[in-house]
Each structure stands twice: as structure tokens, then as C-alpha cells.
Amino acid sequence: MGEYSSINPRIGVYVCHCGTNISSTVDVENVRDWAIQHLSKNGVVVSRDYKFMCSSLGQEIIEKDIKEYGLERVVVAACSPHLHEKTFRTASEKAGLNPYLTEMTSIREQVSWVHTDKKVATEKAKYLIAGTVERIKYNESLEKFNVPIDPNTLVVGGGIAGIQAALEIANAGFHVYLVEREPSIGGHMSQFDKTFPTLDCSACILTPRMVEAGTNPNITLLTWSEVVNVTGFVGNFNVSIKKKARYINENLCTGCGICWEKCPKKVIDEIFEAGLGYRKAVYTPFAQSVPKYPVIDHENCTFFQKGTCKACEKFCPTGSIDFEQEDEVLNITVGNVILATGYDLFDARKVSNYGYGRLPNVFTSMEFERLSNASGPTGGEITLRDGKTRPKTVGIIHCVGSRDKNFNNYCSTICCMQSLKFSHLVKERTGADVYEFYIDMRTAAKSYDEFYQRVLEEGTLFVRGKVAEVSDAAREPHEIGKLIIQVEDTLIGKQRRIPVDMVVLSIGMEPRYDAKEIGKLFGISCSSDGWFMERHPKLDPISTMTEGIYIAGSATGPKDIPASVSQGAAAAARVLDKILQKEVELEPIRASVDETICSGCRLCNNLCPFNVIFFIEDLSITRVNPALCQGCGTCVAACPAGAISGTGFSNQQIFAQIDGLLMDI
């Protein structure tokens, strides 16, 4: 049953009422009758209608007919294939018919939902069904094929989401490569002082996980490393990882710290200290770094730039400094990849009316985190830019660079809670007066609104108004020497000028500056805002349109720590699911190149949105990777020689469908 024959195959047509969704506009009985009368010369041997084809009874009708009438093709005229193609294909399979010989025609989304004229709608339904009937003759039996899954996993990004994912998979007994671009894992969470709403010390809850990740026998930690190339497909990815030269011999280094103590070159630490503190040219980002080995920043190291110094080498007790060390490239194979690359912060200099960068005592939220952190540049003292003076009044501004069509349209989710946390810390450490300037208070998760209540109790003054400007131009004597926050207190309806000593800007979260490049490397797309795009925003937030690549954490959009951890765990569960199945089944709808026709012109090579077309030099032909091909049809359309055909979208099928659509009904 089911192979193309020179006479018309036996086709069954089923017209669904979809309750009244279709039948109120399309005359379904008429269509049913027309199909058997008009299309029997095209192969239709049975035509039925039913209220709900997708129901079990509806499916049973199809199954029964396949057996009784010896059907070789099934056409179901109903809703969109997105919804029920799988349903009907499975039903056909149960009855012994190859599932790829069953097709759907959408007469709901494409007809009854967009037309009101019944006559026109009924006619259009007929044309569409005729098209499918003609095309389906050229459908072939296809088999899904299985691909084995390599049990290794790659996790890119050593922040809290990546660490969570890595630990889950490792603890289940499978091996993980954890790649991190900075010298230590930990991510942004390692920069914070306290976390909301529990006010847990961030390092205290993070470092045990970091140590676990660093010592777990199933995790290969590759820090100061970046992914440079990815080829392959789900179950079988070939990944090249560049291990940047640390210039430290990890086998000898004990992490004693003498090298960075003796290093004479101080550099502003733009990354970990958010530009607020210094590090040396040889450094570990923070005291609890995992791994403990430092790196030498060769752009700032005196030896690399000028050829002198080498103080670290002189003083190192174990001789682990190695200036000759080179970058290494590690090639690995993994079955699945989890991208947990995290976020960057909005550049507050863009909002020039807040004066960040021009007025010394305007700080960003990350700078404030470093101020309040006990291992930060001021040892946990909240001070002004001079490093000494305690502020007496602090203003915290919400929504900087977020919810703003001039910058980023979206809400960064965590800034309201973060601002409340800052307010609490300021009150606790300095007793200063605190003002918070908000548009809305977004404290919507577990224990969040209770935290807002707590901060209200502590006496923070809330002003509802988006701050217009922060200025040092005083108008009255009492404003001299202060930063003046000018805002409309919208609940009173008056403009206020509030003099403060220190301003903290709650800046928004943004995708990593190279998120698009990373996405391209792995073959996934980013949304218009630049975040990694999930397969389905509601029902599948951690997988992507590319099989085998998963996303987790704030790389997919602004979120707090509990959500990042949940997503890391969810991605890990999905990967474990695949690993345990040992094989993955792939849909056979994909393009293939007829090598006898391909002339090697390579026009298609750069068109593939999934980068799965490759050129065989010595044979001078192009091939499509069947496992990764998503069947989009771009190359099929582009090939000037017509050498590429897509199963399910062959030229024959398309021309036949056009003939059917133009049929005289």
C-alpha cells in the first residue's frame, strides 16, 4: 500500500465541521458531495464529513476506511496542520498507511475564519481540496530515521543557570563540558552582595555550587575558553573550543596569590568590578574563583607590551608562570548543547539626562552591588565616588533604559526588586534617607510583595514618577553641592526637585553584545530584541528551533535567579531525556540534492538559514545535511538547475497542486 502508481491512487477525502467553526461558513455537505462526484476521476473513492475529525471517533472513521476501501492517500480538510497533522498521520499509521501519505487542507484558518461570504468560502474550500488531492498523488512513503545520541553534553556559560544544568546532568551520571569565557565560573551572581527577597549573601549560596561544579568528576571545566566552531547535528555535534592561554601552568599553580600581589600593573577591572575597582594584569576575578588559577591579561601585562617586568615569574614559588604558553584548540563531540550565556547591562551613558559618566555620584546598579559587597573596592562601605564619604540621602531610579522606546522597549523584570534591595542595604549600612522613583512597582513573584512591604516599613520614601533629569545646577541655596533629582510626583501632580547625595540607576538587562554571533555559531535565532529565541514562548521556553540546542537562564530574556535555576534544570532534564533515549527520531521532510544535476554553482550554499548545506570540493557538488535540514525550501527554490528537491515539496507536487487549484470546479 502507498507507492506511487501510474493510475490514480485511491484517495479518501474527509471534510470537518469543526463544530460550527467551519460549517457556519463553508457548506461542508456540499463540499463532501462535490468531492466524490467531481474528483472521483482524480482518484477519490470515498468522501465523508464529520463534526470533529480530530476526535477519536473521527480518527476511527479514517482508520476504518483505510482498511475497508484500501485507501492509499488521505486528505483531511479541517484546521491548520500545525494543530492536527500529527493526529491524522498517527491515525493513518495505526491503520497501516504510511503517515506521509496523509495531508491536511486548511479550510478553517484559510477559509472559514477569513471569509464571510458563504458561496465564495465554499468554492474556495473546493479549490483548496482539489489542489491537495492532485498533489498528494506525488507523495512518497517516507520513514523517520534514527540518529544515535552522543552522551556528552556541552554547556556554554558558567553562570547560575549553566552551573545548575551542568550539575543536574553530571549527577545523573553523564559527562558535561562546561565552557566559560571568563577566568572563573559564577557569572553575574558572583558580583552581587545580597539577593532578593531572602537577602541571602550571594557568594554564600553560589560558591558551594561553584565548588561542586569544579570538583564533580563528570564535569570538565573549561574556563577562559570560548566556542569557535560548531558543525554537525543533534546527537552528533563537533565543537571546537579555544582554550585561551592563561600563561599559568595549571598543573603547578597552587593559587597562592603571590603573583598578583607582586604584579606592579594595576588595571581598572571593567568586568567583575564594573569599572569601580582595580585588578592586576595577572589576576583571578574574585577570591572564591573556580578554578583558582589566575590568568595574565596580555593586553595590559608589562612584559607582553614592553618586554620588561616578569615580577610574577620571579616570585612564583612553584614556577607556574609560563609566558610561552599558547592558545589551544580542543575538539570535542557532544550530543546536546545548552546555551546559558547570560546577559549584559544597559549602558547608562546613553541616558544623558541622568548624568552618568559626567556627574561623579551617579552610580549604576552593578556599581552599587560592588560598593555594598564586602569584597568590593570599598570593603562593603556604601560611599560616594571619593571612596570615603557616606551619603546622607540616596535616590534610586527605576526603569533606566527599560520600558523606553528610546532605548529598550521591554521591562527588565528584576529592577524593582533590586531597587528595593538597595534601599534596604542603604538604610541598614548608612541610615541615610532613601527615595525610590518608580513608574510601577513590579513585585510579582513569591515573597516579592512582602519584601516591598518590609521596605515600606523601613521608611523608604516612594515617589511615583519617571525621573526627568539628574542635575548639579542648583537653583536655590539648599541645592548647592547636591545632585538634584527633578521629577513629577504624579500622585500629587507637581514637579519636585529633590536634592540627594547619591543617585543609583537601576539599569536594564540586555542580551550579550555578541548574542547574535553565538546564535549563528549554533544555528539558532535571536528575537528582535536580541535574546535567544525559544521554540514556543509559553509551552517550550528552553528549546530552540534547532534540534539538540537548548537555552536557559537570562540569555533568553530578563529573569531572576529562581527562574534561571529552573530553566537550567529544565534544559538539563530535556537533555537527559534525549541521552536516555539513546537515539533521536528525525522528521523526513528535508531537501536533497540530485547529484547528477548539480553543477556546483554554489548559489544555495549561503542561502541556508540553518547552515546545513555544504560543498564537497573534490566532487564539486553540494550536499544537504539531512539530519539538520528543517525543510524550509529556500535552497529548493534557489537552485537554478532545479537540482534540489524537498521531500514533501517536490516540483511535481507543487505543479500538481497548482493544477488542482486552477481546476474547473
Binding site: R181, E182, E226, I268, E270, I271, G275, L276, G277, Y278, D347, R349, S352, N353, Y356, G357, R358, P360, P377, T378, T383, L384, R385, D386, G387, K388, E469, S471, D472, A473, A474, R475, Y513, D514
Partner: protein, 325 residues
Amino acid sequence: MNEYILYPGCSMEGSAKAYNDSLNMIKGILGIKLNEIDDWNCCGATEYVGLNLIPAYSLIARNLALAASQFPANSTVVAPCSACYLNLEKADYYMAERPSLGTKVNEALDAGGLHYTPGSVQIRHLLDVIINDVGLDAIKNKVKKPLSGLRVAPYLGCMVPRPDYQRRWSDFEQPTELDDVLKALGADVIEFPLKTSCCGGHMTQIGPETAYELIRRLVSTALEHKAHIMVTVCPMCQMNLDAYQSEANRYFGTNYHMPIVFFTQLMALAFGKNPSESGFGMELTSAKDALAHISSEVLPNTPNVQNKSEGLPMPSARLRKKPGK
């Protein structure tokens, strides 16, 4: 020689005569040729626009239509006055952004035998043209008598950097264009935080108390920063801060004396013209004492009133280098 279409604006022959005279002095030196639109009419300032949408924009568009018909395609209209510049830019931009407006305005223009297709001319402010087309280096080369010793407060005003639909200016709040030109002339430019704060516009006539307060803020802040003179690009700003300064003083019981002149005047001075040729002497708040500060020696710049504090590092001036790149 760069050629431009000139839209002078009503004030150039009146209250901003100093602007006109000094511009005529320097345009040859800068290599700019300005061809006036024949029979241009008033742009409507902020008065006409507030009455009725289509007549207002038709009034403005007549000028654009004349410019487009009198000169080759895609020429640049230069307006020295900020309000004129903004009105012309807005008319051109809105007629494109909202086609129904464009159609109605053209219907009105048609009654006078004119037509304007939005985008037919480029509209730029005089300062924009001087900085970007002539260039700071060229300006520096023409300086014969650097203005060392003169502490200037660059006051760009509000209508030039905002709303800036064509994004020609560096920043809405703290743009550096005027500062750069003045530095090129050798002046000691202070960091003036209110450089784009409003002077009050026509409020000096219809709501004086509001205007006096705005004038007071500007003048007192400039004095606080120890400026000798304020420099502007807009006739309205100049008139408000110059002519109404005594009114403001009377209202507040203050005794401010802060002269305000046009940037072209300082340019003319720096290029070697004498004060009278550069339009000085017409201002009501005399600039004579301020000009006396100009010395022939190159003096070190006096430190700004506000010191950047020692201690924790400030965010670096350029966008931070991206990590890893």
C-alpha cells in the same frame, strides 16, 4: 566654496542684526556662499503654529516650496535661527511622516501655484554646517587672534538639539558641537550644565514671570561657573537673555551682568575682525568688560568650579571596551 540656500528669518534684519553682520563677516573666510530664498516669508515662530495646523504648516511650507523651485534638487537650506530651523525641519518631517498632512498642505500651496514634496531639500542649522562641512581644523587654521583668557558658557538652547528628527546632533541634553567650535577659537570653555535649557522663548512677552525665572537660572549658573560671557546660536535666546536681563534683575532684586553674544561674533573676532565689525556694541548687556579678558598670551584654562573627585574611578569617557574583543 560650499553653496547653500539661506533662510534668514525675520530676526536677522531686526533683533539679531549682530548675528547677521558677523555672519556676513565670516562666511567668505569659511568658504561658504549663502544664496537667499527670494521672497521668503516668516516661519511663524512658535505663535502661528499654535493656532491651526494646516495654515501653520502651509505658511512654513511656502518657504520650502520656494527653495525647492529656486535651487537645484537636494540642495541644503541653512537657517541661522533655531526656531526657523526647527519649523522648517518639522514641516518637512511631518509632511512625510503623515501623508494626509502633506496632501492638505500641498492643496493649500497649490492655491498659490506652489508645491513641495517632502525631502526635496535638506534643512540644516548654521552651526551644523560650519562644524560638519567646514570642519574644526579649517576653523582653527583661520584663527588669527585666539580668544585665550575668555571663559565662555556655550548655550546651544533647546530647539536645535531637540527634537532633532534627522539625528544630526551629538546629544539631546549635553551636545558638544558649540563647545568644540569655541575651543577651536581658543576660548576657555566651561562645562555649562544648562547648555540646552530653555530661555523661555516668547514667555518674556506673554508670561514674563516664568521667563524671568528661566533667565535667572541660566545667568546665575553661568556666573557660578565663572563664565565671562555666554554664547548662543538663537536670536530668541540672545534677545531674552540680553534685552530682558535688566527686567529679570529688577524682578528678583539681583544684579547680574552676563553678556550674551552670537557664536559668529566670536568667530569674527577670532578671525581678526574688530569688535564693531563683529557686531559688538549692539547688545544691551554690554560685552565690553568680558572682551577685555582676551589676552594675547596663551593662558592655562582655569579649573572648572566642579572638581571630579579622587577615589573610585569614573566610567571611562568612551563606550567601555567590550570584554574579550
